[in-house]
Symmetry: C2
Subunit: 151 residues, 2 copies
């Protein structure tokens, strides 16, 4: 995924979007979403049982432990997590910060769905997919909406 697109020698630049524009947008949002899911889950596991194991992570996310380990390696590359062989995974300060943001966003989306009358199970399930596509602008509107609701 997310090919290079270099506009090598030929001209052929029909798209107005810059390289930076294309990256960090639709196609790669998915990739970020994956990291967010891992970070949030690891944070939960650490808070809950005190340790986050690749096998548990994989099971919770519905992927094999091998896949989980590969993604954890990526988290480490990105500076979000640390781990040493056979010793579980931990989050860096940045990782924890990210987890906090993700969790807050998740809660906000769920709360809005509930306020709209969505049944709690559906709200939790759908929020998982929705939360990765909500802009900061929309989140702000969500906060305001809930504030008014409560008053």
């Amino acid at each position: 995924m997310s090919g290079s697109k270099r506009e090598a020698t030929v001209i052929e630049l029909p798209r107005e979007e810059t390289q930076a524009g294309r990256f960090g947008k639709t196609r790669d949002a998915q990739s970020i979403a994956l990291l967010d899911d891992y970070v949030e889950l690891i944070s939960d596991l650490l808070a809950g049982t005190g340790e986050a194991r690749p096998t548990d992570i994989g099971r919770r996310l519905g992927v094999s432990h091998a896949t989980a380990i590969k993604t954890i390696a990526r988290l480490k590359r990105e500076g979000l997590a640390t781990s040493r062989p056979y010793r579980g995974v931990f989050l860096t300060p940045e990782g924890e910060a990210r987890a906090a943001l993700v969790r807050a966003r998740h809660r906000l989306v769920v709360d809005v769905l509930l306020a709209l009358g969505v049944p709690v199970e559906a709200a939790e399930a759908d929020a998982e997919g929705i939360e990765h596509h909500v802009s900061e602008t929309t989140l702000a509107a969500f906060r305001d909406f809930l504030k008014v609701q409560r008053s």
Copy 2:
């Protein structure tokens, strides 16, 4: 993406989810979303200019025409579209039906976001990502919510 997972000879079935369960869920939702985007766009182009060309489709979706053509081939395989060399793309009845559903869902999501106070540009942009993750249950709640709003 979406590997096989056959539980070949070894036992090793740690996940309780069935094969059908894993498919059609998180990981593959993305794949469906892609087809939905194409179908919706093709429908729009046909309605607007009377023809849907691979180059236009690619440009509108921010991918190369080659990528568009590959995905169109997949639409054909799935029975959603038809096309003959150098003659543009058309939708099958199923494709049109799908487009109608997708468009209705898109509108609904946008309307809900607007009702929540999200600025129209953000609403349109975010709906694009959100719409693919909203369950039928949630859509129903959205309809009810708007109905009440209007009254």
